[in-house]
């Protein structure tokens, strides 16, 4: 059953999620076992894709228009590897996190409730054991189901199936935010749920138009039948608008800081690192492989412009924040801007490959860096008993490991060499310069400098000498996981060749014929011409391929 490798990334986490829901004490064990198992599965899939080119799998044995098809190409494999790396790190971190927060809220710890009248503290400081265990315990099934639906989304070849996966992600995300049970978490979860559901309904309306026009739900068949008439353009607008809401691009980003800022740290890491990328992944897939068309260039420029605005606005807001997690959340708004530049850059076929592979690699490195940053900030916050940046003063003395983890994650976010972020930024920069869009290049560099602004605002406080109250000790698990994840994000810069090789399979753009990639093609020696040829029938449109 060679094709098991394409179903396993969906099957294992979802079934484990169900088992974790039912199993009381076994939840942690199941979750960690699956998190560890996911990495080899992802690598297996990547290896299979490398070996055999894009994979197709008909669920239920029915061929495309009737049944649902799973499709795995280079980009999918890379995304699933990204997801499994981040989920493993977050899972291990959550072990320490929930065990620590529960130990902190023992009856013995009678920290008086906040004096504010708004927070009714009738139940005093303690809640019954069952509630806490169940809450801490609910993280595991939720994160497993989130992982399963994420892999389902990356692998799905059916636009209605994408709708259900997006809904799954939304509900899991709201559940995770709800775990925090603080006032702003509840408000953020409500706002996020309403907006995400409306976004999904926009998407579904677009799907209904496409279905009634072309009679198929499989996006590869859709790509073949797609013509660029008025109704299809309306469908594109609806699809993209719905997904923009969920991907939190600049004007529609207002729900993100509160949602990611108030969720418990492992949850914010999952949300910011992975869930945002799912919606963007769908846009990327649709834009370049289902309805690529020269006349979309103008819309691409608009999205690119919004991305640039997001970079500047997000970074400026991040610098202004007083609370740690809001700072990192606003940095997500900025980094999402980087992703959307691809629509402006890739409209010029000569640089399309650089832009596209740069964006894919940016998703990978940003996921690791952002999750590491959130985990590190979470540890610092709990140690310093406070969420403000001032509370972190002098943290470098007490918790050097966590501060260095945040610093390394910051290196990834700032795109300084040798991190993965740098490689992605380099590819995007090259694409921008080659297609003479110097404006975008300048915005990218400005984004990097502003990122230094907000990262070092935190590090500056951390390195300051302080005589304040000694901070609480952080469990070893919560110190070393962010560091390892940050090291992975930095290490991605050094091993960029292999993932980019993986990305070439089933990519909508062949690597441009410019000098340096020519060197690569003879040395690659892979049967990718065959892969590209066979796939050319399916994926590439006349317009998109030089």
């Amino acid at each position: 059953m060679p094709d098991l490798v394409i179903v396993a990334p969906i099957l294992v986490p979802l079934v484990a999620g169900v088992v974790a829901y039912v199993a009381g004490r076994l939840r942690r064990g199941v979750a960690i076992a699956v998190a560890v198992l996911q990495l080899p599965l992802a690598c297996g899939l990547a290896w299979e894709v490398l070996r055999r080119g894009p994979l197709h799998y008909e669920v239920g044995g029915w061929s495309a228009p009737l049944g649902i098809q799973l499709y795995a190409d280079g980009l999918t494999a890379l995304m699933i590897c990204m997801a499994s790396i981040v989920e493993l790190a977050v899972g291990v971190y959550a072990l320490g996190y929930f065990e620590w927060t529960e130990r902190e809220s023992q009856p013995s710890d009678h920290t008086p409730p906040g004096p504010s009248a708004t927070g009714p503290a009738a139940t005093g400081t303690t809640t019954s054991e069952s509630a806490k265990r169940s809450r801490g315990g609910s993280f595991w099934p939720l994160s497993l189901l989130l992982a399963g639906s994420l892999n389902g989304l990356f692998l799905s070849g059916d636009i209605f199936n994408l709708y259900i996966s997006l809904e799954l992600l939304t509900l899991a995300a709201v559940g995770l935010i709800g775990l925090a049970a603080s006032l702003d978490a509840l408000a953020a979860a409500l706002r996020y749920l309403l907006i995400a559901v409306v976004g999904s309904l926009f998407y579904l309306l677009g799907v209904s138009f496409l279905y009634s026009l072309y009679g198929t739900l499989d996006w590869q068949q859709l790509a073949m039948r797609f013509e660029f008439d008025f109704v299809s353009r309306c469908a594109i607008v609806l699809l993209v608008l719905g997904l923009l809401v969920k991907a939190a691009l600049f004007p529609l980003h207002f729900w993100l800081p509160a949602a990611h800022g108030s969720a418990p740290s492992p949850a914010s890491a999952l949300l910011s690192g992975l869930v945002l990328k799912a919606a963007f992944f769908v846009i990327l897939r649709l834009w370049f492989e289902v309805f690529p068309h020269p006349r979309l260039a103008l819309a691409g420029q608009l999205l690119g412009g919004l991305g640039a605005a997001a970079i500047l606005w997000g970074s400026l807001q991040a610098i202004r924040q007083r609370r740690l997690k809001l700072l990192v959340a606003y940095s997500s708004v900025a980094q999402i801007g980087y992703l959307f530049l691809v629509f402006a850059l890739a409209s010029d076929p000569a640089v399309a490959w650089n832009a596209w592979s740069g964006t894919a690699y940016f998703m990978l490195s940003h996921a690791c860096a952002k999750s590491a940053a959130f985990l590190a900030v979470g540890s610092l916050q709990l140690a310093a008993r406070g969420g403000e940046i001032e509370d972190v003063t002098g943290a470098a003395a007490d918790h050097p490991v966590t501060v260095y983890a945040f610093a390394l994650a910051g290196v990834g976010l700032m795109g300084l060499p040798p991190s993965g972020g740098f490689v992605a930024k380099w590819l995007l920069l090259r694409a921008a310069l080659e297609s003479h869009q110097v404006g975008l290049a300048i915005v990218m560099l400005a984004g990097g400098v502003l990122a230094v602004g907000y990262v070092f605002r935190v590090l500056g406080r951390a390195f300051a000498a302080t005589d304040g109250a000694p901070q609480r000790p952080i469990p070893r698990l919560m110190q070393w996981t962010p560091l390892v994840l940050a090291l992975v994000s930095v290490g991605l810069g050094l091993v960029a060749l292999q993932p980019l090789e993986l990305l070439r399979i089933g990519a909508p753009f062949a690597p441009s014929s410019s000098a340096q990639s020519a060197g690569l093609s003879e040395q690659a020696g892979l049967g990718e011409q065959a892969g590209l040829g066979e796939q050319a029938g399916l994926g590439e449109q006349a317009g998109a391929n030089p």
């Binding site: 906040g114 927070g119 007083r322 509370d391």
Partner: protein, 175 residues
């Protein structure tokens, strides 16, 4: 003008009414009802458009899609209502506060991160809803037609902010 087209237009009408409702109404229960109206509208469009198959028998696939959609809608509604109940129990309000107007991280009992920063910082967060002031005037016309959906989604938050700042603890004063 077939039945399908008529009902599709009716579905779009519902979609519009629901979208307007979710943006303009401030009470969360209204917003949740509006979400259901939008989903009914979209489902109506989905089935109506697919009703025009050859050979007279309706196309079962959209029906299956709508069935799935209804179940997804009920799940989302149930979760939203659970959130609303919990939000009401914690704050005594049933309107979304302006993003950031809530005392930052003021903690309900039993919350995970056992700190209450507002003990340290007095006023509410400084960035009082400026996130959407920026995008109010960023009306970006997508190619072809005016995808204004996102622009007004932005300034809607400004809209409901005014109402929400009503006194706390005076129950769900909703008129």
């Amino acid at each position: 003008m077939t039945t399908g087209t008529l009902y599709a237009l009716c579905g779009l009408g519902l979609f519009g009414i629901g979208l307007g409702g979710i943006i303009l109404r401030t009470h969360l229960l209204h917003k949740i009802i509006a979400t259901n109206v939008i989903s009914s509208g979209v489902f109506l469009v989905l089935v109506a458009l697919a009703d025009r198959t050859r050979g007279g028998r309706p196309d079962p696939v959209p029906h299956a899609m709508v069935l799935t959609g209804i179940v997804v809608a009920i799940s989302a509604t149930a979760l939203a209502l659970g959130l609303l109940r919990r939000f009401y129990r914690e704050t005594g309000r049933c309107r979304l506060p302006e993003p950031g107007s809530l005392a930052p991280g003021s903690l309900a009992p039993g919350s995970l991160e056992r700190w209450s920063p507002e003990r340290r910082s007095e006023g509410g967060d400084a960035e009082k809803g400026n996130a959407e002031k920026g995008n109010g005037e960023k009306g970006n016309a997508e190619k072809g037609n005016a995808e204004k959906g996102n622009a007004e989604k932005g300034n809607a938050e400004k809209g409901n902010g005014g109402e929400a700042s009503g006194g706390k603890g005076d129950g769900c004063r909703t008129w």
